[in-house]
């Protein structure tokens, strides 16, 4: 379990991460969202034990990460652009990781050779960016970490490989209880991967949500009432996040149980009643609109 408590990180007088607290449970896939400069990378590097926070604590399994090899042995950090030793091949990088990470699984490494069809003896610097990314995944997964921290990992992967990797991650999570942290500036990219999402902006955490809860809990309703007064009566009964009127049609974003909401509307026998699931993007736009942020530039 990853615990981040009140972490701040200052770069040249500016707070890149400002008092962030975060909990990620074992076996969760946590998506960290935010625009460029939001502080995602800094937070992930602090979590990986690369940076020492100015304030706050970062623990994994109850132990601080920074300068603690026994904790860091269980973590793999994948930077936003893959980096390997100069002149290294997959084989030599594997040899290095094998000697540094005690949990290295040779078996896993060989299994994955079938997934990533890359030349193990070729110099990594001659690979394309996407191939380097695959190599990084291959090496990371072969280390059999308990925590995998990935900074913008999807960039440069083709859709087939993207699918493959997602499946691999799901498999690791299901079989070994791998905990994953993924950062991205694009919600749609990780929508189908994460079960938890946090949105950062200006070094702060704006929203943190359990996606399954969110999806089950928030609904978009298009409704045309028989009488306009019905609308006023409804707002008192339901937890409405957002509402707007488009001609005779009212649009509501409502929190709550689907059945209960449906019943509440049907009392007024509206001409039109549509209860739709929300995309994640919409949820955040409405949630953050509530918090006083214009979410559009943050999310896209």
């Amino acid at each position: 379990m990853i615990e981040i408590r009140g972490v701040s990180k200052i770069f040249q007088g500016e707070k890149a991460v400002d008092g962030i607290s975060l909990t990620v449970h074992k076996g969760a896939i946590y998506g960290l969202l935010g625009s460029n400069g939001a502080g995602k990378t800094t937070l992930l590097k602090t979590l990986a034990g690369i940076y020492r926070p100015e304030e706050g604590t970062v623990t994994i399994g109850g132990k601080p990460v920074f300068e603690a090899p026994e904790v860091k042995q269980r973590i793999i950090f994948m930077p936003d652009s893959p980096y390997f030793f100069p002149q290294a091949s997959i084989r030599s990088m594997a040899a290095f990781y094998r000697s540094v990470y005690p949990s290295w699984s040779e078996e896993r490494f060989k299994e994955l050779a079938a997934v990533f069809r890359l030349d193990q003896g070729r110099k990594l610097s001659r690979f394309s960016k996407g191939m380097q990314r695959q190599a990084a995944f291959w090496l990371a997964l072969s280390c059999a970490p308990e925590v995998l921290i990935m900074d913008e990992p999807i960039d440069g992967l083709d859709p087939v490989m993207r699918r493959q990797i997602k499946n691999l991650l799901f498999q690791e999570v299901a079989e070994r209880g791998l905990t994953v942290l993924i950062s991205s500036h694009n919600l749609r990219e990780i929508e189908d991967l994460c079960d938890h999402v946090g949105i950062m902006h200006g070094g702060k955490m704006l929203v943190e949500k359990d996606l399954d809860d969110l999806k089950a809990d928030t609904h978009k309703i298009q409704v045309a009432f028989r009488d306009e007064r019905h609308a006023g009566a409804l707002t008192a009964k339901l937890q409405i996040l957002h509402q707007e009127q488009r001609g005779s049609v009212n649009l509501y974003i409502v929190k709550g149980d689907r059945e209960r909401i449906s019943r509440a509307f049907h009392v007024y026998e509206p001409y039109v009643f549509d209860l739709l699931p929300l995309t994640l993007e919409e949820i955040f736009i409405y949630e953050m609109g509530d918090a006083g942020y214009d979410a559009q530039p943050i999310l896209l």
Binding site: P69, K72, P79
Partner: protein, 668 residues
């Protein structure tokens, strides 16, 4: 399992050797070229093998060229992982403690650097018995070479690492390494200039004679041929390496990973860096403008301010990594730094310390030296040349101490200054040094004019203590086997032991009997001949010799040479002169500055005005030879051109009072 119970990680070392192995290969090739190969490289096929004091004599400069660059390069490459973002992230995300990373990288570097040294040493030892080897040395010479180079390499590598920890850019790291390794020497020289310029009586030292190169490891290495590293030096560098390594470990623990790419890794070094750069720039610029403009106050202040500004801007740009540094804070901060550093430069020369007026109390002085050539008593200071006798320049005679002290008091009170174009005959450079009872040495240096200080100068210069040191009588007394007298193409040897003994006694007596006036005369009048002492050759065939002069005041010496019949063989006689041309010199104003010191131009002008006389008569020529002074282009004096029968020409000066009736008679 990782071997974290050791302080290093073997896989990290393996990785480093794979990545940076080329450094070891280059160092090996370079050292093999610079030592064993040089032993067989000799253009002269008939040259005999020579004995060497140490193996640095074999292509020492080439060896050192590699020895000062490769260890630093190794430090730059191995610790590149601290300065570049991506390697830094990778290395610091690994489950290794920073101590392990540091020790592993250090060990990798030392393997890459030490193996070549000892391999080269082993090969040098193996080729030692070969016939074509041009050098004679022993196994212990090889061992000494290996140890010396190992310690220096270790020091440079560790120093390079230490600077790597403190900085965040490889380029800056490299620049700072060499700047800091040279800085002590440059700073000492600048401070020496600064104090010499503003502190009256400060004894400025010059150049390499002061052995200033020992203050910079790389300069010392470059001069290894003339100044070898002693065991003490090596211990010091070893100790410094250990200290720097410990500091590196401590600082590395505190270093933030995100400093990769920043100029300075620790913000608390920023003020030090800024002040250091400003201080150096102020010293350079201030000294430059003050020297160029004869220390005019406006120029001096402007020079220092300009230096401070340039230094501040440069440091600020490096720290902030942009040339756009102007913010509201900048002028205020600059003013603060400039004021503090200005005070730091001004206070030592301000007179607050009382340096300029301080004359040690008589009862505290144990011994004294006064003379023009303190540094030339290199026997005392230059401990590396085994051939020079170790003579203590100090004298303990109380009367002499009192005389020197009185001269010092008079000079410190009157503060005479020599003008830029002072005449050699009017001013004497005097070093006054006191060895105090408490062992301290107080040293001053002054340009003392004869005018106004005659009684004090007379008291000092007529003391036996002064003459013994100024004319180096101790050298005459010891190991002189024969004398050689020279006067251009006339030469004469005295080797009969009895004659040598008599001559030595008389010469000594003559020197000790010289009056103040006699000694002044030697500065304007050429001697009759130079007297060279020839010592006994030492084991290597090196023969020490010292030079004295047969001054015109040495009447007893002259009479002795006359009696023995040597005088005629050595002195210039009127018969040696083919002709003499004499003019009264009034032409300085009519000649461009560059030609004023060319006597031939003066003569040409006089000839064109028909104001020159050429004579061949013996009587006036004899008078001219008797009264001649060194040539100086002063209006009103007489310029004489002597043409010798052997073809040589000589220019000299006569003053009005030197003119005998015979000479006056021939003037045009």
């Amino acid at each position: 399992m990782t071997r974290s119970r050791f302080f290093f990680n073997s896989s990290v070392i393996r990785q480093n050797l794979r990545q940076h192995g080329w450094i070891g290969i280059i160092y090996t090739l370079a050292l093999l070229f610079a030592l064993p190969l040089q032993m067989f490289m000799n253009g002269d096929p008939n040259a005999k093998p020579q004995t060497v004091q140490n193996l640095f004599f074999v292509g020492g400069e080439i060896q050192m060229l590699f020895a000062v660059t490769v260890p630093v390069a190794a430090g730059l490459f191995l610790f590149r992982y601290l300065q570049a973002k991506m390697p830094s992230d990778l290395w610091h995300s690994l489950p290794l403690r920073r101590e392990h990373l540091l020790v592993s990288h250090t060990v990798s570097g030392l393997i890459l650097l030490m193996v070549p040294i000892w391999l080269t040493g082993a090969i040098a030892a193996m080729v030692q018995p070969l016939d074509s080897n041009m050098y004679i040395y022993t196994g212990s010479d090889v061992l000494e070479w290996c140890l010396t180079l190992s310690v220096l390499t270790l020091f440079l590598f560790i120093f390079s690492m230490f600077i790597g920890i403190c900085t965040g850019q490889t380029v800056l790291q490299g620049a700072v390494i060499y700047i800091l390794l040279l800085l002590p020497v440059v700073l000492l020289q600048l401070i020496n200039e600064h104090l010499g310029m503003y502190l009256y009586g400060y004894p400025r030292w010059f150049g390499i004679r002061a052995h200033i190169e020992v203050w910079s490891p790389i300069l010392h290495m470059v001069y290894v041929n003339t100044n070898a590293f002693s065991a003490g030096d090596l211990w010091m560098y070893s100790a410094l390496s250990v200290l720097l390594f410990a500091l590196s470990v401590l600082l590395y623990r505190r270093r933030h990973g995100e400093k990769a790419g920043q100029a300075i890794a620790f913000t608390y070094f920023n003020p030090l860096f800024k002040a250091g750069v400003m201080f150096c720039a102020m010293l350079i610029s201030g000294t430059y403008f003050a020297q160029l403009k004869q220390q005019q106050l406006g120029w001096t202040i402007a020079g220092n301010l300009a230096g401070a500004l340039i230094g501040y801007i440069a440091a600020e740009m490096i720290i902030r990594k942009t040339w756009q540094i102007l913010t509201r804070r900048v002028p205020l901060e600059f003013a603060g730094y400039a004021l503090l550093l200005g005070l730091l430069l001004y206070i030592p020369v301000s007179g607050i310390s009382g340096y300029e007026n301080r004359v040690p109390a008589l009862e505290k002085i144990e011994a004294v030296y006064a003379g023009s050539d303190y540094a030339a008593n290199d026997a005392y200071w230059n401990t590396n040349n085994p051939n020079t006798s170790k003579e203590d320049p100090f004298t303990e005679d109380r009367n002499y101490i009192e005389a020197v002290r009185k001269l010092h008091l008079a000079v410190a009170a009157a503060r005479p200054e020599a003008p830029a174009n002072y005449s050699y005959s009017d001013y004497r450079q005097f070093y006054l040094s006191y060895r105090l009872e408490n062992g301290r040495i107080v040293q001053r240096s002054y340009m003392i004019p004869s005018a106004g200080f005659e009684p004090e100068l007379k008291a000092v210069m007529e003391s036996e203590g002064y003459k013994r040191k100024a004319y180096r009588l101790s050298r005459l007394e010891t190991d002189t086997e024969s004398f050689r007298l020279n006067n251009y193409n006339k030469a004469l040897s005295l080797s009969d032991p009895q004659e040598v003994k008599e001559f030595k006694e008389i010469l000594k007596r003559e020197i000790l009997n010289m009056t103040y006036e006699d000694q002044n005369l030697t500065r304007v009048q050429p001697s009759y001949a130079s007297i060279q002492t020839m010592g006994k050759p030492d084991a290597t065939g090196y023969q020490l010799y010292y030079a004295y002069e047969w001054q015109s005041s040495f009447h007893e010496l002259g009479a002795w040479l006359e009696k023995k019949g040597y005088a005629d063989k050595i002195r210039t006689k009127p018969g040696d002169i083919a002709s003499a041309e004499i003019i009264q010199d009034n032409y300085n104003d009519r000649l461009p500055a560059a030609e004023r010191h060319d006597p031939e131009r003066h003569l040409e002008l006089a000839r064109s005005e028909k104001r020159s006389a050429v004579i061949q008569e013996a009587a006036p020529i004899a008078d001219i030879l008797e009264h001649q002074r060194y040539y100086s282009a002063k209006d009103g004096d007489y310029l004489v051109k002597l043409v010798y029968k052997e073809g040589r020409t000589d220019y000299m000066t006569l003053r009005e009072q030197d003119l005998t009736p015979a000479v006056k008679a021939i003037l045009p």
